[in-house]
């Protein structure tokens, strides 16, 4: 303009300033990525929040890609997943990334929550950060559940059936809730569409909204300082002290405080990719077809503990698990920052909190393990599929051999293992002969009891006689059969020895 053209670099600088004067990027940067954080918070323990965010981004990207192929109808969903697995270029990898990204998101989020809890970050003034985080956890679990419904294979179909059965237990409005869940009278395409809409529109939208709030709160209230044991939170002084600390030893999150996050996220990304490549996508299993009565209905990892708890709790306590437990959990989690919003932050001086975390983790891990092995599920094919090993038949009398046949043919092994093979729903019978007498076994078989049906109507007296003879013969070598302690077998005695006193015996029983 002034006769002499500006250099390119100067033009670029001008352009940058033009943008800056309009967008105020410097200010935006200072209040977001570059916001000051306490130096003590630059820690590996503080990386799980950003790792959860990374998982969410992976889920969005892979989810959009999958939606290009997936067909959300009961008639077409299964086939479209097969297509993704075997026909669509890299479809299997996208499915696998989405699946493992989802599992990792739940795990990393749980660790993030644990860290926040143990480091006392839910206390004043970060109550709403904690609460929005709890809601995000619930929404993430909702994503996980609705996602596995979209797989629409056998597991998924019967899984919704379980969901409907649980809803059907709600007093008064159970039938209405079942209807709302299924979107009609049966588990069908309307059900799938419902979960599709939730999984793709409603819940992700809610997550993005709450995540914005969560991050805004993190920026607004500042990241929690790494607590020093003995330094208590006081509402009257905390804010001023926090600001003073930021001025003294605050550093900008980007670039000074972000290194550990970057490394941790890189590792997590590698882990997810490795799991996706080497383990691959989950399913689909056999199609969701009500005429195929082969249901394991095993949910994905995040819900296995719930399945185990439902299976292991005493009969009739389902109401407590499904309706009372969530209410208690909600009161505890949402109320936490209000009940104990001040005081000690460091876990080193909060033994009850530490024990609560350890117990929770132990419970969830053990229940998940139990869920993987599922010992409460009968082996429906054991009666026809699992052999009786030779050592359990060798040297038996004809009657006992007949009993072995009854044992096999009457589906006993679906619930009872012998030599480790068979179901584990009922007791393992490998050495039942050393524990129960024949009369006791007869009673148990005829009348049932515990979790065993009564076979009185379905077995003839001869069959029961043979069966119990075989069961009594199930003993390790050289061991005597069980004896009834109330009526001991008369031992052989020398003629000059006195009989033991009867009265003393009676009291023992």
């Amino acid at each position: 303009m002034n006769g002499k053209r500006k250099k390119l670099s100067e033009q670029l600088v001008d352009a940058a300033w033009w943008l800056e004067r309009r967008l105020h990027l410097v200010k935006l940067w200072e209040t977001t990525a570059g916001h000051p954080i306490p130096k003590s918070s630059v820690s590996w323990f503080y990386t799980f929040g950003s790792m959860t965010l990374l998982c969410f981004v992976i889920q969005i990207v892979t989810g959009i890609v999958l939606a290009l192929i997936y067909v959300p109808t009961a008639a077409g969903a299964y086939e479209s997943l097969e297509y993704l697995n075997f026909q669509q270029e890299l479809g299997w990898l996208m499915r696998a990334m989405h699946y493992w990204g989802s599992n990792c998101m739940v795990i990393v989020m749980a660790i993030h929550m644990t860290q926040v809890f143990l480091w006392g970050a839910y206390k004043y003034p970060r109550e709403l950060t904690w609460i929005s985080g709890i809601v995000l956890l619930v929404l993430t679990l909702a994503m996980s559940f609705s996602g596995q419904v979209l797989r629409f294979d056998s597991d998924s179909y019967w899984g919704i059936g379980i969901g409907a059965a649980i809803m059907g237990r709600v007093p008064l409005i159970g039938a209405q809730l079942v209807d709302l869940l299924l979107g009609g009278p049966i588990i069908g395409s309307d059900t799938l569409s419902r979960f599709f809409a939730l999984h793709v529109f409603v819940v992700p939208g809610a997550i993005i909204a709450l995540l914005s709030m969560h991050l805004r709160l993190v920026l607004g209230k500042g990241i929690n300082e790494n607590p020093t044991p003995g330094v208590l939170v006081d509402r009257r002084t905390y804010d001023a002290e926090y600001q003073k600390m930021l001025q003294k030893q605050g550093i900008p999150f980007v670039p000074n405080g972000v290194a550990k996050d970057v490394v941790a996220n890189g590792i997590l990304l590698l882990v997810i990719v490795a799991l996706a490549i080497f383990v691959g996508p989950k399913g689909p299993d056999i199609p969701g077809d009500p005429t195929q009565l082969i249901a394991e209905a095993k949910p994905d990892y995040p819900f296995l503990w719930l399945l185990s708890a439902a299976a292991l709790l005493p009969n009739g306590s389902e109401y407590a698990l499904f309706f009372v437990f969530p209410v208690i959990a909600a009161v505890v989690l949402f109320g936490l920052p209000f009940f104990v919003g001040e005081g000690e932050k460091s876990w080193r001086r909060r033994p009850v909190s530490l024990i609560a975390v350890i117990l929770t983790y132990l419970s969830v891990i053990m229940l998940t393990y139990a869920g993987l092995t599922g010992p409460w599920s009968p082996h429906m094919d054991a009666w026809s599929g699992a052999i009786i090993k030779p050592q359990f038949i060798k040297g038996r009398t004809p009657l006992e051999l007949q009993g072995a046949l009854v044992f096999q043919n009457m589906q006993c092994r679906n619930c009872h293992a012998v030599g480790g093979e068979g179901g584990h729903r009922g007791p393992d019978l490998t050495s039942i002969g050393t524990i129960q007498t024949q009369p006791q076994l007869v009673r148990q078989i005829i009348q049932g009891g515990g979790n065993m049906p009564a076979y009185g109507k379905n077995l003839s007296p001869d069959q029961i006689k043979a069966l119990t003879a075989f069961l009594v013969s199930l003993r390790p070598p050289n061991t005597a059969p069980a004896m009834d302690s109330a009526m001991p077998e008369k031992p052989l005695r020398a003629s000059n020895e006195e009989e033991p006193k009867k009265a003393g015996k009676k009291n023992e029983g």
């Binding site: 009961a74 409907a164 059907g168 009278p185 049966i186 005429t291």
Partner: protein, 179 residues
């Protein structure tokens, strides 16, 4: 809880106690928008819960000629629900266990376990229905035999019309809405 909360700044002192034309306009706007919100919101909610408004009753469905079912045998029968649409694919089919008693009497049971809805399987030898999920067991007549189920298998109403066995079904049975 709030006793130690830092005190908030005082509210604006110059709150006016007269109303202007703008205030009036704002009130009109609020009223219009409230009406509009109802006009949009009520149909949306009605759409979502429409399955509650328009009930799906159980209907009579044919399971085939009576002669198909030998006396004393328990058979799995698959039938299409009247609510099936093309997009439902295999899920538009339902199943029930049909047990023919002596004569023209039947016992028709839903295949869904009363515990958590898993499909029970019939075992002829031991005359038991066993559930693969948590080991619920039912006798041949559907009565609860053992395990976690809270009640007997859901029995369906049936009738015989022109030699055809008809069952009243078509809806997924649950504890709240048993067959």
């Amino acid at each position: 809880m709030t006793s130690h909360e830092p005190s908030h700044p005082p509210l604006s002192p110059e709150a006016k106690n007269y109303s202007t034309r703008r205030d009036f306009l704002l009130q009109i706007g609020v009223v219009i928008n409230t009406i509009a919100a109802f006009m949009i919101g009520v149909p949306v909610i009605g759409f979502v819960v429409s399955s509650l408004i328009k009930k799906s009753p159980r209907v009579w469905i044919s399971l085939g000629p009576v002669s198909k079912f030998p006396e004393g045998a328990t058979r799995l029968v698959a039938y299409q629900t009247p609510y099936r649409r093309e997009v439902d694919g295999p899920t538009g089919t339902m199943t029930c266990w049909v047990r023919r008693l002596p004569g023209d009497k039947f016992r028709i049971l839903a295949a869904n376990c009363t515990h958590l809805g898993c499909p029970v399987r019939w075992f002829e030898q031991s005359q038991l229905f066993l559930c693969p999920c948590h080991g619920g067991a039912f006798y041949g007549d559907g009565e609860r035999a053992a395990g976690p189920p809270p009640r007997a298998l859901y029995p369906y109403e049936y009738k015989i019309e022109n030699g055809e066995l008809m069952v009243k079904s078509g809806v997924l049975p649950t504890l709240a809405n048993p067959a």
